[in-house]
Amino acid sequence: MIDKGITNWTRADDAMVEHAIRRGATRRDLLRMFMAGGASILAGGTILGRATAAMAATPVRGGHLKAAGWSSSTADTLDPAKASLSTDYVRCCSVYNRLTFLDESGAVVMELADRIESSDATVWTVKLKSGVTFHDGKPFTSADVVYSMMRHLDENTGSKVNSIAKQMTAITAVDPLTVQITLAAANADLPTILAMHHFMIIADGTTDFTTANGTGAFKIEMFEPGVKSIMVRNENYFKTDAAYLDSFEYFAIPDETARVNALLSGDIHIAASIKPQSMRLIETQSGIDLVKSTSGNYTNLNMRLDMDPGDKAGFIEGVKNLLNREVIQKSVMRGLAEVANDQPISPMSPYHNAELKTRDYDPEKAKALFDKAGLLGVSIPVVASDAATASVDMATVLQQSGAEIGMKFDIQRVPSDGYWSNYWLKAPVHFGNINPRPTPDILFSLLYDTNAPWNESQYKSPKFDAMLVEARGELDFAKRKEIYDEMQVMVSNEAGTAIPVFLSNVDAKSSKLQGLKPNPLGGQMGYAMAEYVWLEA
């Protein structure tokens, strides 16, 4: 394998991976290959099998796909900067394109960009594909990229990735097909960052999003916030081996039972995010497949270090020892989870610290720790909600373990409505749910940096902050991993975030629906399935 040193993935790299598999490359080889790209592999094990399966089938054109997600709201939007729910992502992915995206292995793949190059990881040159047009016929140029990127820096846009975009200090069009992005500090992850859903490319000057004028595989035909959207194939799509479907209909069925029933009755082709308990039913049905992928998604218990009882020495460690991870994995998640060790980098990531052992379930040790903290027998309110996947059940498991050692956890289940704004980050002890992020850098900056916007436990460590900056600019994988390894240990031991398991995502689909692969960015091929899947007759 060729060590290219600096990330500059091209389309050819895709073929390389596939080629490698064909040649019977070992897993280790492949991992090395991915590492070389600086991409994190978040979905290792499952992908390989899937990739091989996908290879065998031949795409068929035509058909109308009906797919259901799980969340929808009247705030549904076609503005990629504001997208916040899975339905937004799926819709946006089908009508817009990003400069790069991540494939099923987590590798960076070029989309609208032809090449992304940098010599110092600070100044990046993005070469754009030529001959791409928007739905309204306007050719795609560097001005569109500049406009799309600059929007995120404007406070008034209300962009969800404003804090990440801030590191881009200058975005300039060098020529019609070249853009230069200058970062405040070196960051080797930029190609991966550009694969985030919010960095989709819109036409220069767009302020009205109702027509969703993108370069994507589908054109929006009908969009009703909170109800559904219908997309039809963009016949001028620049990718030739994509967009097999004639049309694509997407909506949300928030009730999981209803979602499964709709799939079973043949009303929809794919139901996203299936609960572990529904698997038994689905597995008995012929013509229905499950697509599982373990990504970096997790539900964690946050104990704020600056509030009672998290500020009492021993409490947090006690809770971490009292979490019965095996029961959570087996009973709550029915095996659709990997046991975690209180830090956010999943085992699928090349940066995962395998040396860091999972804490054993040790009620006696926990009891001693609680006793030391003077909290034994004190009633501790724990805020949980259906908004954070499985958090109520996890809380119940914790509560039960607590009851055995005389520790009272008082579960406060609160409505999903407003959970993220009213309880998350605010309650002394509460659950959170973190979606997969492509790089350790994003995870740590978002969640553990002293000034992190979502510093769930108010973890503040100058040493950690310094290491984060150091790693970001470190171009050598081994050195970088070394830093990240230590940071994982710090988070696991010092932060108030107990991460019991990494959750697997399960989509259930009709076997007619082909071409669906797992993706580290989330279910339904990282929400981008529309252009890759096809319907068998």
Binding site: T257, L281, K330, S331, T396, Q412, R413, P415
Partner: protein, 282 residues
């Protein structure tokens, strides 16, 4: 509406009840008893995971199978009785007491108080109950007192309307007029003259309202508002285990049966209330 007005007070034992009423009364008493002593009988703590399987079948160890986490459904149903029956009963009492007191007062006092109260409660009644519940729980959070007050408030206008209609009828009776002519105060009129004459229908109404509250509580639980875990009312039990319905899992059937048996029994009991034997041989 036709009502079984004017029951004589029970002084002598002399009631007659048909067999449907007896069966219904037995079931209602059974659940009332379970609500009181049930949790003492439960074999496992309601939150404990006792089975690694989920939606397990009925077995000697687990009398009603296991739920989606592998918890004992029998224990959870026993514990749920306390919440479902308790919350509904408290709410129905709250609704009926406030509704009946306000209704009688409005009927007796009349005038602006009557008009004002009627309009206000009518307005309250016009808001769909489940949505009202959702908004209020979103506003003040879900806890047992909140649920009780919420359900009580939702059903107060109905109780008010019913009691007021009855009280208006009684209020025109001469014995109330006599009491007025005697110079009695409103408090006396309401408690001693009106109330005893509407208790029969009000009790029947209370029973019906109880059924509605049980169902609404289940509905609210279904929409995600309810008792805090590890406890759960029956509606929550059905909701959290509804995925077991395709297999006919006892985890979902048992709490459903519990709800249905309670509500059907209360309904039947009201339709077949004991009748006092009052043969006047003159």
């Amino acid at each position: 509406m036709h009502t079984k007005a004017f029951w004589p007070t029970p002084r002598r034992l002399g009631y007659h009840m048909n067999w449907i009423g007896l069966i219904a009364a037995t079931v209602v008493c059974f659940w009332a008893l379970v609500a009181v002593i049930g949790p003492m009988l439960s074999p496992y703590p309601p939150g404990e995971i006792v089975d690694f399987d989920y939606y397990g079948p009925i077995s000697a160890k687990l009398w009603m199978g296991s739920d989606y986490l592998g918890r004992d459904i029998f224990s959870r149903v026993l514990m749920g009785a306390r919440y479902t029956v308790g919350i509904s009963l408290a709410a129905v009492c709250l609704a009926c007491i406030s509704g009946v007191v306000l209704g009688m007062t409005a009927a007796v006092v009349g005038g602006w108080l009557d008009t004002g109260l009627s309009r206000f409660l009518d307005a309250l009644n016009s808001i769909p109950s489940k949505l009202f519940g959702l908004v209020m729980v979103a506003a003040i959070g879900s806890s047992i007192p909140v649920l009780i007050v919420l359900l009580g408030v939702i059903y107060t206008p109905g109780a008010y309307r019913f009691a007021r209609a009855l009280a208006v009828n009684i209020n025109t009776m001469d014995f109330v007029t006599v009491a007025r002519a005697r110079g009695e105060r409103t408090g006396y009129l309401v408690t001693r003259e009106i109330l005893p004459n509407i208790t029969g229908p009000v009790l029947a109404d209370l029973g019906l309202r109880f059924v509605f509250i049980v169902l609404l509580l289940s509905g609210l639980s279904f929409l995600g508002l309810g008792v805090q875990p590890p406890n759960a009312d029956w509606g929550s039990l059905v909701r959290e285990n509804i995925g077991g319905l395709p297999f006919g899992a006892p985890a979902v059937l048992m709490p459903s049966l519990a709800i249905a048996s309670l509500t059907i029994s209360v309904n039947l009991l009201i339709d077949n209330l004991p009748v006092k034997i009052r043969d006047r041989s003159e």
